[in-house]
């Protein structure tokens, strides 16, 4: 009898003792806030995670909605499951227009904010690595806010990470666009200062040249759209000049090769795609599925994709830009028309991914900044500063590759004609690269060139070029007011 009593006592003692440790479940496969941002490896992982989120933010429909669909060049493809009429017709509507949610942007910004907060406190074996990672965070944050300010105007400027639901700034209001752009410029300077790597580093993350391109882009915008004037043009010019002087970057002789070779010497900054990481680059929305193609043309010449074709160019763009000048080597790359019989097959031929193992992987890197744009930025800046003849010289560098002709544009053109020519060349050169909408706006041609916008300057309280915020964003934070006019 006693034996059992001892046994029982022992059992009770064993089970009750050590409860506290017993209840500390090991997270094994998870990183928690308690074991992150402690060392160099974790900092690098945090920055890689930030770029991974950056890639999802600027991809797929979202990318096209923000940067392309409103420019009047697009129509529904063979399978238009999505309703993009609001964008094609420039009648954006808070409840029916897709992709008006800020979440993807602020996920990227939060990752950048965490890096900017924690990386300075981490000991690195090599301080240069630490600085480069900080430059990445500032660069990405500047890029995000620049685009948000262009898309929505005033947006909440959040520059500290949120780490608790008790944070008193959890429900911010929209900050003035000027304030946001000032922060963008400050971040660009911080990125530039921290980017100790002077060479290429790589072509899918921040680099000196990438930061300079963003800087030129931003200052050109503020010069032309926000009253920045010559001062901003000169800032932009200085940034571009540094890129133009960098021997690591040059024009490829063949326009097509720019899109067939990844990270070639013309690429300054691109978003990396890979079958192992993400194979849903937005180019998949332009390609035709086998059901839409007669079988003898499968990949001969029509690229077969497993996705439905949601978008194609309209005839106006094909005829008035791509086919405007016979012999334009860019035309077939931007868009291919193939009509063996009665059916016309049309697809954007830039981002075609890879055909591997009888399947298409949509993994072409998204080109964000390339050397051709540095040249065209330079031309635009020179022309805006009044140096029209010098601008024509730059412009003709692009025309030479396109048409194979020297001095395609005569040096007798007026300042206004050169602006038109630069815009025309940009709209072809960067076709489907997410440049058209803001190029047209920057050149002040939106209400002239885009048929659905003609005469509508004052609609939506003058905010027709902005987008409304999704109702969901407002529901989750009642401090957010809708973009006026929507």
């Amino acid at each position: 009898m006693k034996r059992y009593r001892i046994l029982l006592g022992l059992f009770l003692a064993l089970t009750i003792a050590g409860c506290e440790d017993f209840l500390d479940a090991d997270p094994y496969s998870l990183v928690t806030s308690q074991n992150m941002w402690r060392n160099e490896a974790e900092a690098m992982a945090g920055i890689a995670g930030m770029y991974s989120q950056f890639r999802s933010t600027f991809n797929d429909f979202d990318f096209l909605i923000y940067f392309e669909l409103r420019s009047g060049f697009w129509q529904t493809g063979t399978s238009g499951a999505n309703q993009w009429d609001d964008l094609f017709l420039n009648t954006p509507n808070a409840s029916s227009t897709p992709s008006l949610d800020w979440t993807p942007f602020y996920k990227t910004i939060n990752a950048a904010n965490l890096g900017i907060k924690y990386i300075p406190g981490i000991d690195f074996g090599n301080e240069d690595t630490k600085d480069n990672l900080l430059a990445d965070a500032y660069f990405v944050r500047a890029f995000c806010y620049f685009q948000m300010a262009r898309i929505w105007g005033d947006v909440p400027l959040v520059i500290l990470p949120y780490e608790s639901a008790d944070d008193e700034n959890l429900y911010p209001t929209r900050d003035d666009m000027e304030v946001v752009m000032a922060q963008v410029k400050e971040d660009i300077d911080m990125a530039y200062d921290h980017m100790v790597d002077l060479g290429v580093r790589n072509r899918v993350m921040a680099s000196r040249a990438a930061i300079n391109m963003l800087k030129a882009d931003v200052y050109l915008w503020t010069a032309k759209r926000m009253g920045g004037g010559n001062a901003d043009l000169l800032e932009a010019e200085a940034a571009v000049d540094e890129v133009l002087a960098d021997p690591n970057y040059q024009l490829l002789p063949s326009y097509e090769q720019v899109f067939r070779i990844e990270q070639n010497s013309e690429i300054i900054f691109s978003i990396y795609f890979d079958i192992l990481e993400a194979s849903n680059q937005y180019g998949m929305r332009f390609m035709l599925p086998p059901g839409d193609i007669e079988s003898q043309y499968w990949n001969n010449p029509v690229p077969v994709s497993s996705n439905a074709q949601w978008l194609t160019y309209v005839d106006d763009y094909v005829n008035n830009y791509l086919l405007a000048t016979p012999g334009d080597t860019r035309s077939e790359v931007v868009n291919t028309d193939f009509q063996p019989g009665t059916v016309l097959y049309r697809w954007v031929n830039k981002y075609i991914g890879e055909w591997v193992n009888e399947a298409r992987n949509d993994v072409t890197d998204t080109r964000i900044y390339r050397f051709a744009e540095a040249i065209l930025f330079k031309a635009e800046i020179l022309n805006a500063l009044g140096s029209t003849p010098e601008a024509i010289i730059e412009l003709n560098k692009i025309a030479k590759r396109a048409y194979g002709v020297d001095d395609f544009y005569a040096n007798t053109l007026t300042q206004e004609e050169v602006d038109d020519a630069i815009l025309h060349e940009r709209l072809i050169e960067f076709g489907a690269e997410g440049k058209s909408w803001y190029d047209i706006i920057r050149f002040g041609k939106a209400f002239e060139m885009i048929p659905t916008l003609v005469g509508r300057e004052n609609e939506y309280e003058g905010n027709i070029l902005l987008l409304p915020v999704s109702p969901n964003t407002i529901t989750k934070n009642p401090n957010i007011v809708q973009t006026p006019g929507f």
Partner: protein
């Protein structure tokens, strides 16, 4: 020696008393019984007690009425006792009718005990113990094996459907063979965390689908907080206790049973055939922007050839109509002849599925060792192409009497199953089945035609190219050591180990859409360890005070591991495993764990089984919370009063038993993410080959239990002698506070949401059960039962978000500051929103005067232009709820609620001799079904490749005046309605249906072979059963999946629940 003397002063004859105690507990597998000892006086009478089948009955309690004298029967059912002449002997046994026999000098007294109709004295399993139904003061519903047996189902939950009051069970994976069902007890307790009850099988936390229904002794559902509080932290949604069969003393009882039958759809949807399809779609396309597509390669276009997925084309000059084709004049150009195939994809997809179940069990034992063991095998073909399930399972429960006062109870079970299912049921039931009838089934070379796209395919193609094998291996072992320390004092320790392994293999053959040959292999494992120690003290004092005390500790540790690998690029379909695929795409593994520690105690007391009291307390610690918030305390208390035990209530003619009860208690819910409190950085967000981590969950160290406080009042009623009519009633209210709520975070935070303890929700309702033995006369008997449960909910408090009623989700109009739907303070949950239709616009005048409709693309046949918001004749006009002259989001109102308020069932049993008929029906009332599939069907969506239902043909508007003349009741047919006016493709009062149903769940006819047959075959018993399940639903809802799949989602056709006709035989050896 009186029983009291024996118990109070164990020194005087302790040894003898103890031995008797052990025998009782051994034989009855139950609570302690108080046995009076006979003093040797008078004459000795002996005899045998048997049950109604003639088998000896050991352990029967025999007392001499009015004295403390008595004995019990031995293992052979024999007894002997000294009695005075004319003494009255009382024979009693749990579960048997008590008998009184007067001793008039017989040499022997042989007694046959009749089983007691399930009554108020039955034993009920409660947490860590059992109790007589008579003295229970809490809301517990019980289902015995006889109600589960012979229903040929493989899922326990399915077998329980409609049989438990206040418990809603629905089939979450529909008719998929081997699929699970979902259980909701009293509506649940939470808003957006789990509402699933805690399931405990033989004391171990397990899944209900881990067990073979044939192994079940009984199932108990603990509903009120006083009964569940003993399970503390995880008990807010109720507790389901399953007890499996254990060995019984006596010779081996061997049973073999098998049943086999077919599953078929309980109904077919009335879809149009190819000719009507072509007529409807071509005509609609002709007067629409899709006119240009009439000659394209489409299901309704003529541009097809022999290699197209579609068969429709024009008959060539001089061409004969080919074999297998039909022809008709083109409705848009009658001078031409169309030829086409007419394939019924509903018929192609749904075919009778053969089901077979086998089970062999043995049960018996000696005083030292008792056993119950079984093996079973099920092989079930689904009624939808390619779906399949099989399972082998075995169980062995063995009890050893190690020493006189030491019992070892062991349990072991294993099951292996294989399932083939659809990756997404919608691909088939909301798409493939609805594929246009002009689609080809096969090409000339015999290969399957591909349909419209990867997820809207010909079902035979879908099934041919995809392989999905799910293997599940589950093994549980456990033991329990019980030590009778002193009379009434018992200590038990138990340990259980459970492991579940799952492998998933899939392969997609190279096909029309994808040639990657993607192969996936997943392996996951759950290991669970549980240790418990319980001390029980059970004692009666002075014939009046009955006391039971339980105290114990419990430890649970769970470890999960998941892994996954994916590769593609194999050169052949022959090898379908990863080794053949050169391009490795995914290789990952993931491991988590959790621990729970609990300490608990309970006291139950009654005075003369008249005044009843129970209190319990549990303290739980969970690893899901930060150290400072880890522990929670969960109390429960209940009282009861059996009025009919009072002297003043004696002698009433009808009222036999009446018990009033009330209870109150608190329980918890800890189901947040295992590490949610610590915040989460997700790994695997790689970039440029660099391993990346991304913050995905914000930390919240203040997370703690969600607490539900519930009170319950009720009564138990027994009418007529032997409680021939028994009824239970309960009214309850439960309020959950500190809701573990997934609070949406502002977009600017960079996170989607965070788990916080905010908000308050209330559920309340009543339950009523009645059972009646209506008639028992000679060979004929008739019994019936009925149950009903009503449950309602209201949100009381939500996190402050600056919006009226703190509404989350739904629609919020910033202009009026008003909202509707989602969840909001003071409102009921699970609403469905939509616009309300007013009338069908019958002419141009009405069209021109109609409201601007924000969802209408406004293409008019008059000018061929799209003008947003414009209406044309044949469109619905909607009710402008907010009076702003525009029909948009803000005109949506609550059209109904998706969760039933009232569920229940009723059954009746008729028997005549060896024949028995059992009919069981269940019902759910008070809910709506928002159907997405019927909308698509009427709307000719997905490129116009959807087959409409036949009423579109006769009921749709065609020309001006159709409404006035009463010719039409539905709006115009439009090609791809979703891209035009959305007359069908939106949620309105017309696409939200009343979901009320009454299901004919089971009809069973059984026949016990007469003794002559069984003797001739040398069998113990033989029983034949013919049964039908899910025979019919009485409902106004026109779809076929009446029991839709989730709490809050729209019905988007899942696997319909099949009708099954089964023939079974059960043989006892």
């Amino acid at each position: 020696m009186s029983k009291n003397f024996c118990l109070k002063k164990p020194d005087g004859g302790r040894h003898f008393c103890l031995r008797l105690d052990r025998r009782i507990s051994l034989l009855l597998i139950s609570l302690l019984l108080i046995i009076p000892m006979a003093m040797a006086q008078g004459q000795v009478v002996s005899g045998t007690v048997t049950d109604d089948t003639g088998d000896p009955l050991p352990g029967v309690n025999i007392t001499v009425k009015g004295t403390a004298t008595g004995t019990i029967t031995d293992p052979d059912g024999k007894f002997s006792l000294s009695v005075e002449p004319n003494a009255v002997l009382v024979f009693s046994f749990v579960g048997m009718e008590t008998q009184e026999i007067t001793y008039t000098g017989q040499a022997s007294i042989n007694v046959t005990m009749a089983p007691l109709a399930v009554g108020l004295d039955e034993l009920v399993v409660i947490g860590y113990g059992t109790q007589s139904r008579r003295t229970i003061t809490t809301a517990i519903t019980k289902v015995d094996a006889d109600k589960l047996e012979e229903v040929p189902v493989t899922s326990v939950a399915t077998a329980l459907q409609g049989k438990l009051s206040g418990v809603r069970i629905y089939q979450s994976s529909g008719g998929q063979p081997g699929g699970d069902a979902t259980i909701r007890i009293r509506g649940g307790s939470s808003i957006n965390k789990s509402n699933a009850p805690l399931v405990i099988i033989d004391g171990v936390v397990r899944d209900l689908d881990d067990i073979n229904p044939a192994d079940i002794e009984n199932v108990q559902v603990l509903k009120d907080a006083s009964s569940t509080a003993i399970y503390g932290a995880r008990a807010s949604n109720g507790v389901v206790l399953v007890t499996t069969k254990r060995g019984k003393l006596g010779k081996a009882e061997i049973n073999f049973s098998t049943n086999t039958g077919y599953a078929t759809p309980w109904k077919y949807m009335d879809m149009v055939d190819a000719e009507d399809f072509i007529y409807l779609s071509r005509e609609a396309a002709n007067r629409s922007p899709f006119q240009k597509d009439l000659n394209k390669p489409l299901s309704w276009g003529t541009g097809n050839d022999e290699n197209s997925p579609w068969s429709l084309r024009y008959l060539g000059d001089g061409e004969e109509v080919p074999d297998g084709y039909k022809s008709m004049p083109d409705p848009v150009d009658p001078s031409k002849t169309l030829i086409f195939q007419d394939n019924d994809f509903q018929d192609i997809t749904l075919n009778p599925g053969l089901e077979q179940n086998y089970s062999l069990s043995a049960n018996g034992g000696t005083e030292k060792i008792k056993y119950a063991a079984s093996i079973g095998y099920s092989d079930i073909e689904g009624m939808s192409v390619g779906t399949y399930f099989n399972r082998f399972n075995g169980r062995a429960n063995v009890d050893f009497l190690l020493r006189e006062n030491l019992t070892l109870t062991t349990r072991m079970d294993h099951s292996t199953s294989k399932t083939n299912n659809y990756g997404n049921q919608r691909d088939i039931f909301a798409r493939s089945i609805w594929l246009a009838p002009t689609a080809r089934v096969t090409f000339a070379d015999g290969t399957y035609a591909p349909g419209e796209n990867t997820t809207f395919t010909n079902p035979l193609f879908y099934n041919d190219v995809r392989k999905r094998d799910i293997y599940l291996y589950r093994t549980g072992v456990g033991a329990n050591l019980a030590w009778d320390i002193l009379p009434g004092l018992k200590a038990e320790v138990s340990g259980d180990y459970f492991i579940r392994n799952r492998t998933f293999e899939s392969f997609e053959k190279a096909n029309y859409y994808r040639s990657n040959r993607t192969a996936v292999f997943e392996y996951s494992q759950t290991k669970q360890y549980q240790f418990e120690g319980v001390v029980t003290y059970d004692r009666s004092f002075a014939d009046a005070h009955n006391l039971n005390i339980v105290a114990g500790i419990s430890q649970l540790y769970i470890e999960d591991m998941d892994s996954r690998a994916e590769a593609e690029g194999a050169s052949t379909d022959l090898v379908q495993t990863l080794n053949a695929a050169p391009l490795k795409l995914d290789a990952s593994s993931y491991r988590t764990s959790e621990a729970l520690v609990g300490m608990f105690g309970r006291i139950t007391y009654d005075f003369k089984k008249k005044y009843l009291l129970g209190v319990s307390l549990r303290r739980d610690g969970s690893s899901r919370f930060a150290r400072e918030n880890r522990y929670g305390i969960f109390p429960g208390a209940s009282v009861g009063w059996i009025i009919t035990e009072e002297d003043f209530m004696q002698g009433l003619p009808v009222l036999n038993t009446l018990k009033l009860r009330a209870s109150m208690g608190q329980t918890g819910n800890n189901l947040v993410g295992r590490y949610a409190y610590a915040g989460e950085y997700q790994v695997g967000n790689n970039y440029y080959g660099m391993a990346g981590v991304l913050a995905t969950e914000m930390p919240n160290r203040s997370l703690r239990w969600e607490t539900t406080t519930q009170w319950d009042v009720g009564f138990d009623l027994g009418l007529f002698r032997g409680d021939r009519i028994r009824a239970l009633f309960d009214y309850y209210e439960k309020v959950t506070t500190d809701l573990l709520f997934n609070v949406p975070l502002p977009n600017e935070s960079g996170y989607n949401n965070i788990d916080q303890n905010v908000g308050k929700v209330k559920f309340w309702g009543y339950e009523f059960e009645i059972q009646a033995d209506i008639l028992k006369k000679g060979k004929f008997y008739w019994s019936a039962d009925f149950n009903i449960g009503y449950n309602m909910n209201r949100v009381l408090e939500l996190p402050d978000n600056g919006i009226d009623k703190n509404r989350i989700g739904g629609i919020y109009d910033p202009n009026t500051m008003k909202g509707v739907g989602g969840i909001a303070e003071g409102e009921r949950m699970y609403s469905v929103l939509g616009q309300v239709t007013d009338f069908i616009i019958d002419n141009w005048e009405q069209a021109n005067n109609a409201y601007f409709d924000a969802s209408a693309r406004g293409w008019s046949p008059l000018d061929g232009q799209k003008v947003k918001g414009r209406k044309i004749p044949g469109d619905w006009e909607y009710v402008d709820q907010n009076g702003d002259g525009v029909i948009d989001e803000y005109d949506k109102v609550v059209l109904g609620y998706l969760v039933p308020t009232t569920v229940g069932g009723f059954s009746t049993r008729f028997g005549y001799g060896n024949l028995e008929l059992h009919v069981f029906m269940d019902y759910a009332l008070g809910h709506s079904i928002a159907d997405a599939t019927l909308r698509r069907s009427y709307g000719l969506v997905v490129g116009g490749n959807y087959t409409p239902l036949a009423d579109l043909l006769t009921e749709a508007w065609r020309e001006e005046g159709d409404i006035a003349s009463g010719k039409a009741t539905m709006p115009r047919v439009d090609m791809q309605d979703q891209k035009q006016q959305k007359n069908y493709q939106r949620t309105t009062d017309k696409s939200v249906y009343k979901g009320d149903y009454l299901a004919v769940r089971e009809v069973r006819l059984s026949y016990n072979a007469p003794k002559a047959w069984t003797d001739a075959l040398r069998l113990g018993s033989m029983r034949f059963t013919l049964s039908g399940q899910n025979l019919h639903y009485f409902t106004a809802y026109p779809g076929w999946q009446t029991e839709y799949s989730s709490d809050a989602n729209y019905n988007d056709n899942t696997y319909p629940i099949p009708r099954k006709i089964m023939l079974g035989i059960k043989i006892g050896f």
